[in-house]
Subunit: 714 residues, 2 copies
C-alpha cells in the first residue's frame, strides 16, 4: 500500500515527453498542474529542451535531484519500456501512461516488455492507453485540460470519455463529485481490483463508481469487492451488454468481455450494485453514500395530488420494490390530519389539502415512522411551487422561500433521527429554482428530476441493505483445489481427452451423490436385456460414445423400451445407427436407464466465464432453455444462501411450483444439487463446462436424465 500511497499522493511529478508545443499533451499537462494548484514539484523531461513552461527540463528522470514519486508519460509506445526502467532506477513509485499503441493494436510483445520492465523496476503503472487520471484532492489533474468535479466518490473507468461524462453528471447534480478518476486502460500492471483495494482504504473516498468493459482478473475483483462493499457502496456499469455492444468492446479494448448477465449476478453476490445505465451511476452513488441504508424493500409515496401517485407506484412495483399499506395506526393519524379525505393509504395523495409544513413534514414524518415503511419517496410539486412560479411569473403573492427551507431543514433532521432514507422527485427540480430542494440535496436527501432515477436509487438502497444483512452467508469466491480430485476426470486428463462420455459424466455426478437416474452400461444385447429386466419397468436406451454428442441425430436413443425382444432390438438398432452415423466413433456400449415420468425439466450447469471464472447456472431446462432463457447465475463456490437466491431468481416460479398435475420442484433438493455441482467443480479445476439438462422434478424428487462434461485442454 505504501507504494500506491506515494503514487497517488506524489511529492513530485516528472512529465516524460514534456513539450514546448502548446497543443501537445506534454505541454498542457504541465500548465494544468501549475494553474490548478498542485503543490509538489514538476519536472519536465525531454532531452530536446532546456526548459518547458519556465521550468528547467531534464534529459532523463535520472537527472532529477528533487523528490519525485510519479511520472506522467506521453512519448511514443516503443520508448515507454525504457522510460519505465529509468523511473525505477530513479526510485519513482509509479507512472500514468497516456501513450497508446500496445496490446490494443496488436502490439502484444511490446506490452509484455512494458509489463516486465515495470515489474523489474518496481514501478506501478496506471494505463497505458488512457486519457489519464485525476487525483482530485491532491490537485494531480492529469486528464489533459480537464478537471474532475471534486467530491468523495472514487471512479475506476475503462473509458476516458465516460470518466468525463460521469464528472459532468456530478457537476450537473451540484452535490456529489469524485476523489479519484482513474483510467485503467490495458491493465498492464495495476488492475481493477488493486484500484478498488486502494479506494477502499482511501479516507477521502466514501463510495466507488466503476465503468467496466472487461477485466483481466474479475475474480480478484469480486474478492476485493466483497470486502470493500461492507464499508463502502460500489456501483458499476458493465458494458458490452449485448452482442453488438460486445463487438464494439472487443475493438475498443484488448480485453475479453463475458456475458453481462453472468458478471452482473456475480457483482450482486459480491455486494456491488450493477446498474442498467451509465446515467444512473452518479445519482445512485449519491443515494448510497448519503442516505441511511434501509432494512427492507417497502417504499411509501407521498404526493400532493395528480398522476404522480400512480406513476410512482408503477415505477416502484416495476423495480421489484414494495408499496406497502400503512399501518392502521398511521392511517388513523392521517385521517385526523386530513378530515375530508376518503383514502390515505400508500401512495398517500394529499392533493394540496393542507399547508406545506403539514403536508411535507408532519405527514412525511408519520409515514416514515410507520413500521411497514422502509423508505419514503416524496413526489409531485413538493417544495418549490411559490418560489419557482410566483417569482417566475410575478403573481403578486409574497414568496417565502424561508418557509420551505425550514421544512427542508426539518426533513433532513428527521432522516437522521428516524434512520430511514427519504428521496425527492419534485417537478420543480429541473428548473433549479428551489432553495429548499437545493438544501435537501446538499444534506443527505437526494432530489431527482426523473421518477425512474429516484426509484433506481431506492432499489439500489434496498438491495445494498439486503446484501449487508446477508453478506456473511454468501460466497467468498475462493477456489483452492489445484489437483483434480475425481478419478474419472484424472483418467481422462491422463488420456489427453477433454470430452467425457455421458456414462463418465454421470459416473462423476453419482460419485458426488447427485440424483442421477440409475444407469448401467450394456456392452451386448444380452446385457441390455438383463439390465432392462432388472429395472422392472420401461427403459430409455442411449448410445454411449465419447465421439457422438448429438445422440438423437445419430439415431442413438430409444425411449419407453419394454420387454425382452424390444430391448434386444433397440440395442442392435442403436449400435447399427451409430456405426452408420460415424463409423470411426468409439462405442462404449448402450446406456440403459429406467424411464422417468414427465415433469418440469430444469437445467443445472457450470460455465467458465472468461472474466470471473467458474459460474454455476440454474434454470428452466429441456426444450424451454433457448425459448425462454430463464436462468440464474452465481460465481463459485455457491453457499446454501446463494443457491436459494438463484432458485428464487428464476422468473417462471409457477413452473417450479408444479402447474396442473405435475409435481413441484423440491427446492431443498435443488439447493443440494447446486451445492454438489459447486463442490465438484471446485474440487476439479480442469472442468470447463458441465451441463445437466434435463434434471426432471418427479414425485420422488429430482432425477438427472442427461449430462455432459468438458475439460480444459491441459
Amino acid at each position: 500500500m505504501e507504494q500506491l500511497e506515494r503514487l497517488f499522493n506524489p511529492r513530485g511529478i516528472a512529465i516524460i515527453g514534456a513539450s514546448q508545443n502548446p497543443e501537445k499533451r506534454g505541454h498542457y499537462t504541465i500548465s494544468d498542474l501549475l494553474r490548478w494548484g498542485y503543490e509538489g514539484d514538476i519536472y519536465p523531461v525531454n532531452p530536446k529542451y532546456d526548459e518547458v513552461h519556465g521550468l528547467p527540463a531534464y534529459s532523463s528522470v535520472l537527472d532529477i535531484s528533487g523528490q519525485v514519486d510519479l511520472a506522467f508519460i506521453a512519448i511514443p509506445a516503443q520508448y515507454v519500456p525504457d522510460a519505465i526502467r529509468e523511473c525505477g532506477e530513479a526510485g519513482l513509485a509509479g507512472a500514468v501512461i497516456n501513450t497508446a499503441g500496445f496490446g490494443e493494436v496488436g502490439e502484444e510483445s511490446l506490452e509484455d516488455e512494458l509489463a516486465a520492465a515495470a515489474e523489474d523496476a518496481n514501478v506501478r503503472l496506471i494505463g497505458p492507453n488512457i486519457q489519464g487520471a485525476d487525483f482530485v484532492h491532491q490537485h494531480v489533474h492529469l486528464l489533459g485540460g480537464i478537471r474532475t468535479t471534486p467530491g468523495h466518490l472514487g471512479m475506476i473507468t475503462q473509458s476516458g470519455n465516460m470518466g468525463i461524462a460521469l464528472s459532468v453528471d456530478a457537476e450537473d447534480s451540484g452535490t456529489v463529485g469524485f476523489s479519484y478518476n482513474i483510467g485503467v486502460g490495458n491493465e498492464t500492471d495495476l488492475e481493477f481490483y488493486e484500484y478498488l483495494r486502494f479506494l477502499g482504504e482511501a479516507d477521502d473516498t466514501d463510495g466507488v463508481v466503476v465503468y467496466v468493459e472487461g477485466m483481466n482478473d474479475g475474480r480478484a475483483f469480486l474478492r476485493e469487492a466483497r470486502r470493500v462493499s461492507r464499508e463502502k457502496p460500489i456501483v458499476a456499469y458493465k458494458s458490452g451488454r449485448t452482442a453488438e455492444g460486445r463487438e464494439s468492446a472487443m475493438s475498443h479494448t484488448a480485453s475479453l468481455a463475458g456475458d453481462v448477465d453472468v458478471v452482473e449476478a456475480a457483482y450482486r453476490q459480491a455486494g456491488i450494485q450493477p446498474l442498467d445505465s451509465v446515467d444512473l451511476l452518479v445519482p445512485v452513488a449519491e443515494a448510497l453514500t448519503t442516505c441511511p441504508i434501509p432494512d427492507g424493500p417497502n417504499v411509501a409515496v407521498l404526493t400532493d395530488g395528480g398522476g404522480h401517485a400512480t406513476v410512482t407506484a408503477d415505477a416502484i412495483e416495476r423495480a421489484g420494490l414494495g408499496v406497502p399499506d400503512l399501518s392502521a395506526e398511521t392511517q388513523e393519524t392521517l385521517q385526523e390530519l386530513y378530515e375530508l379525505s376518503p383514502n390515505l393509504t400508500n401512495p398517500v395523495d394529499v392533493m394540496g389539502m393542507s399547508d406545506h409544513e403539514t403536508m411535507w413534514y408532519d405527514t412525511a414524518r408519520h409515514i416514515l415512522e410507520d413500521p411497514n415503511v422502509d423508505a419514503l419517496l416524496l413526489t409531485g410539486g413538493a417544495l418549490g411551487y411559490e418560489e419557482c412560479w410566483w417569482t417566475h411569473d410575478d403573481t403578486g403573492f409574497d414568496v417565502e422561500p424561508e418557509r420551505d427551507l425550514g421544512i427542508a431543514r426539518k426533513i433532513t433532521e428527521m432522516v437522521d433521527e428516524v434512520g430511514k432514507p427519504v428521496v425527492f422527485n419534485s417537478l420543480w427540480d429541473e428548473l433549479g429554482c428551489s432553495t429548499a430542494l437545493q438544501y435537501l440535496s446538499e444534506n443527505g436527501v437526494p432530489v431527482y428530476e426523473e421518477v425512474d432515477t429516484a426509484v433506481a436509487a431506492l432499489k439500489a438502497l434496498a438491495d445494498y441493505g439486503h446484501h449487508l444483512t446477508h453478506a456473511d452467508e454468501k460466497s467468498d469466491f475462493d477456489i483452492e483445489a489445484d489437483e483434480n480430485a475425481n478419478s474419472v476426470i484424472a483418467d481422462a486428463i491422463r488420456e489427453g481427452r477433454t470430452t467425457l462420455s455421458e456414462f463418465e459424466s454421470k459416473t462423476v455426478l453419482a460419485e458426488y451423490d447427485a440424483p442421477v437416474t440409475p444407469f448401467e452400461l450394456a456392452k451386448t444385447a444380452e446385457e441390455a436385456v438383463e439390465i432392462a429386466d432388472g429395472f422392472e419397468k420401461a427403459v430409455a436406451m442411449k448410445i454411449a460414445s465419447p465421439d457422438i454428442v448429438h445422440k438423437t441425430e445419430a439415431g442413438g436413443i430409444k425411449l419407453g423400451v419394454e420387454g425382452e425382444q424390444s430391448a434386444r432390438d433397440a440395442f442392435d438398432q442403436i449400435r447399427t445407427n451409430a456405426s452408420e452415423y460415424d463409423p470411426s466413433a468409439r462405442i462404449e456400449g448402450v446406456l440403459v436407464s429406467p424411464m422417468v415420468p414427465n415433469g418440469i425439466e430444469l437445467l443445472v450447469g457450470v460455465v467458465d466465464d472468461p472474466e470471473i471464472g467458474p459460474v454455476v447456472t440454474c434454470g428452466i431446462g429441456g426444450i424451454l432453455v433457448e425459448a425462454i432463457n430463464d436462468v440464474a447465475f452465481r460465481a463459485l463456490p455457491v453457499t446454501e444462501y446463494d443457491a436459494r437466491e438463484m432458485i428464487d431468481e428464476i422468473e417462471a416460479q409457477a413452473l417450479l411450483d408444479g402447474p396442473r398435475d405435475l409435481p413441484a420442484v423440491e427446492r431443498d433438493e435443488l439447493v443440494e444439487l447446486l451445492r454438489t455441482v459447486s463442490t465438484l467443480v471446485a474440487n476439479n479445476p480442469a472442468i470447463e463446462e458441465l451441463d445437466i439438462n434435463p434434471v426432471v422434478a418427479t414425485e420422488d424428487g429430482l432425477s438427472i436424465l442427461d449430462s455432459s462434461l468438458e475439460l480444459s485442454a491441459q
Copy 2:
C-alpha cells in the same frame, strides 16, 4: 367543430365564482388573464360583488351583454348544473369546470345531472375535477398561477400536476412547448377522443402528448388516433401499469383502467407511441415533431472515442433497433479519411483522430448517406469540449464557438438534404454551455443528456415510420354487428345462459371453420364405444356439462382410452365422478375426441377490455400460460397484418419454430385462426370472453383441444 373553436378561442370569458379574496381561485384566475395578455373580455360572475379586480361583476352570466364564449367555473359542486344551464341560455359554447366533488367522490347522480344539463344547454364541458386548462397561444391560462411553456404540442392529461411536470420538462428542454394543456378530469362531457380530434385539426399543433389513467371510450379514441396519427405523431403514457399503480388510479379518478399491456398494444395498432416513462413524453415528442421520419430501424453511431460506442450500441440493441454494418463503400471512404484506424464500422469510433469538422460533419455525412443506415446518433464529447472546458477552466487556449456553430449549421442542413434523422447525446449538454448544441436542438436535431432518452427517441421514430408504412393494413377498429349471428349463441342468450359448454363452444368454432379436433358427444356408454371405434385410434374423453368448469378436478377427463372395454369403463367412471363432484350439475354427456400427439401448445382468446372493448390475444399456452405470460394483443377486428405482427411479437419464437423433434407452428394457419376468432366475436357482440387453450401444433396443422366461451348477461 365550430362550437369547440369558440370554446378554445373565446372572445369573452365569464369567471363563475369570481372572488375578492386573493387566495381564491375565482380571484387569481382573473389576475392571470389580465396580466398574461388575454385579449378578450373578462366577466366576473358573483352576486355578492359589484366588482372584482376592478372589473364590474355580474349576478349571473345571463346579465352579461358582451360576447362571451367560455365560462371558468369555481363554485361548489351542487351549484354547477344550474350554472351550466344559465351558460346555455346565455349562448356560451363551453365551460372549464375546476370544481371537484362529483363521481370521483361517489356523487354519481350529481355528475349525471351535470351531464344532462350540459346536453340540454348545448354547453361543452372541460372537466369537472380538474386543475384547469391552458389554451396557450390564445393566452387563456386557466391553470391557476401557472402558464404552460408555449410551443406546438397539444397536451391531454388526466392529472393537473402531471401537466405542470410536462410543461416544466418542456421549459427545461428549451426547445419545445405546448399549444394546449387540457385536463380531462371526469370526462363528463368532452372526452379524450374529442380533444384529440380537435388537436388533430388545430393549425398551431404539430403533435399530441397524452397522459392517461383510464378513458371512458377508448375505442373512439383508437379510431380517432388512427386518423390523426397519419398527420401528427401522438405519444402517450398509460399509467396504472401495475397492480399497485392501478389501485392508486382507481382512487384517483372514477375510471376503470384496463391492463396496460392490452391498451398499449392497441395504441401501437392505432399509430400512437406508448412510452415507458412520463419523463420520455416531451423528449420523444420533440424528436417526432422535428426530425425526418426514418424508413427503417437501423441506427449508426458516431463517437469520438471511449465507452460511448459500447454503451450506445448496448442501448440501441436493447431497444430492439439495429446496429447495421456500414456498406463496403462507406467503410472504404472512412478508411481513406482516417488512414491509421484499423476498424471503422458501426459504431464508428474516431477517437479524436481528426479535426471537429471532419469528425462531426464529413464523417457524419458519409455515414448518414449510407444506404444501410436509417438514422444517426452522435455521442461522446461532440461539439462543446473547447467552449465548455477551456472557458470553464481558463486553459489559455482560444475558444472558437463559431467553428462548432458552423458545423452545427451544416449538420442541420444535411438532415434536410438527406432526409434521415440525426440525434445527439453529447456529454456537454448537461452543462448548457455549448452554442452549437443549442443551435442544433433549436433546428431539428434533438440533443439529449441521457443515452437512454436518445435511444427512446430513435425507437419511437423508427416505430412511427414503420406504422405510417403499414397504417392502411391495420385494423379500423369498427365493429358493426349488433345482433348475434351464431345460432348456438343466440339460443344460449334466449335461455338466459352466459356460459357455453365445451361442446357448444367447439360447435361454434367449428361452424366458423376453426381447426377444432374432431369431437362427438356420447350420451351413453354404447355411443362412446361406437364413436371411439370410429376414430380408429386412442381417444380423449371429457365430461360435457355447462356446470363443471374444472373438469380435471371433477375426475371428468380420461386420456389415451383404447379399446371397447376401456371406452365403456371410462364413460361410466366419468359419469360417476361428475355426479359425485356436483350432484346438481346438468350433464350433456361425454365428449369423445381422437388423441392428438404432443406439440407446442398455444393460446388464442378474446377478452373484453373495459377501456377499449374486445381484444384478441395469442401466445404460448398450456401449462406455460401463467409461468411465462408470453402473449400479444390486438383490438378487434384484426387484419391479416395485425395477426402476423401479433405472432411475431411472441417472445418464445424458438417454441413456434418447433424445438427438438416437435413440429413447427404453421404461421399462416395461426393467422387464419386469429382472423376467424376476430370475425366470430365481431359477428356476435354478446361474447365477453373466448378462451382456446390449448391449440396444439401438430404435423397436420393446428388442433384445438379445449375451448370455453362466456357471454355477457343480456
